[in-house]
């Protein structure tokens, strides 16, 4: 079970309540939000941008945006929807701005079929996906968001989510089978 689906203590404030706290200038609310989302945000950012300092930079930039514009949040959406939108916006923008030739996440080659080697294969396959497809795949399989939520996060239709996911999964399978050949 991932953090996204972990049951939450009843006394814990909702994401929306934390965002309202941040908007009111409460630093404790911000610390709680960081605690709650950091691992999930880092998982997405690392898979979008690789292991270097960029993932951490992306999470910080996203949280800075959330800190500054929490007052802009409206409860027509779930709090997490808006949070993931800010994060994917930052990751996709940073990907666009990377120096050429670093578009692919290159990591040291590991021999044998250990879990570490599997993970590297997955990283390489992921790095070859276009950033939009990669973000959608991660929101679906790492964060376990529903199609409807992913559509709201990325401001696209549910049909586009399904098309992008199907295409991304096909590409991933193709890349992985190339690696294992």
């Amino acid at each position: 079970m991932t953090a996204a689906t972990a049951p939450r203590d009843r006394d814990e404030p909702s994401d929306a309540a934390l965002l309202a706290g941040i908007a009111a200038g409460d630093h404790g609310s911000f610390a709680s939000l960081v605690e709650r989302y950091q691992a999930r945000f880092f998982a997405v950012a690392r898979r979008m941008l690789g292991d270097g300092g960029e993932a951490e930079d992306a999470v910080q930039t996203a949280l800075l945006r959330i800190f500054r514009s929490a007052a802009d949040y409206r409860d027509e959406w779930r709090g997490s929807t808006w949070l993931y939108r800010v994060l994917t916006n930052v990751c996709i923008d940073l990907w666009r701005k990377r120096p050429r030739g670093r578009a692919a996440v290159l990591e040291p080659h590991v021999q044998a079929t250990t879990p570490a080697a599997d993970r590297l294969d997955v990283d390489r396959a992921l790095a070859r996906l276009a950033p939009e497809a990669r973000a959608i795949l991660l929101l679906c399989y790492v964060e376990e968001l529903s199609y409807g939520e992913i559509a709201a996060v990325r401001g696209i239709s549910v049909n586009t989510v399904k098309t992008q996911l199907a295409r991304a999964k096909r590409a991933m399978r193709r890349h992985l089978s190339e690696v294992n050949r």
Binding site: E56, T61, T88, I92, L94, R154, G155, I156
Partner: protein, 236 residues
């Protein structure tokens, strides 16, 4: 609805833990970056009827002979203020480089093609203008850039990634590069499903929560967005 989970092993592989000390580091970094505030710079601007000819940090003076020149200086001032607040990723005000010598002109023209938020090397500029050996001369030409920021010589670094020089000081160069990393370049609006260059007046009508960032126009189109007719974004 929970998505289908036919790739259970994939999910396990995709989910690494955050590194140790991440929470404290993140909260500290966000507080520090937030406290930094906007870059408060005033500019001395000289414009002709065909564009901005000189632009330097100063006391806010304007030198412009004609009505049109005054309007262009005003436009430059407004766009600079938006740029420094992270509200704009491009300039529409024209520049007037007619007083600039041909070699420097070609260096500045090549520099103007470096996309917002990206960096290139002095060597890249030299090769681009067909003078691969003139790397040092490129540095000198950029050092005398009369229209800083609008012609983005701060986006030019040494080949090894170190900062190189900057006529307005390396601290400002670092701040500008940081600002451009934080500011998105290509932004869609989920209400109109239109994608704009960040800072377009069509985009600025909508609040932060309606904005969706894309990595390219091609990707935006694949997601069902159309290019704004006002700011006309393109892919390099």
């Amino acid at each position: 609805m929970t998505p289908r989970t036919d790739d259970v092993s994939l999910r396990g592989l995709l989910n690494p833990p955050a590194p140790p000390g991440f929470t404290e580091r993140t909260i500290r970094a966000v507080r520090e970056r937030n406290a930094r505030g906007d870059l408060a710079l005033r500019f001395d601007i000289a414009a002709s009827s065909s564009g901005v000819a000189r632009l330097r940090p100063g006391t806010g003076q304007t030198a412009a002979d004609t009505l049109r020149a005054r309007a262009l200086a005003g436009q430059a001032r407004e766009e600079l203020a938006e740029y420094l607040r992270g509200l704009r990723s491009f300039f529409t005000v024209p520049v007037d480089l007619s007083a600039v010598a041909p070699f420097q002109r070609s260096v500045l023209d090549a520099t103007a093609t470096i996309p917002f938020g990206e960096v290139r090397s002095y060597r890249w500029i030299a090769e681009r203008i067909g003078s691969a050996k003139a790397v040092r001369a490129v540095g000198t030409a950029l050092g005398h850039n009369p229209v800083s920021i609008v012609v983005p010589c701060h986006r030019v670094l040494r080949t090894d990634g170190s900062l190189g020089g900057y006529a307005l000081g390396l601290e400002l160069k670092t701040r500008l590069l940081g600002l451009e990393r934080e500011t998105p370049a290509l932004v869609g609006t989920d209400i109109t499903r239109t994608v704009c260059r960040h800072g377009c007046s069509d985009e600025q009508r909508f609040s932060e929560r309606h904005r969706v960032v894309f990595s390219s126009l091609r990707e935006a189109r694949a997601a069902g967005y159309r290019a704004c007719r006002r700011c006309r974004p393109t892919d390099a």
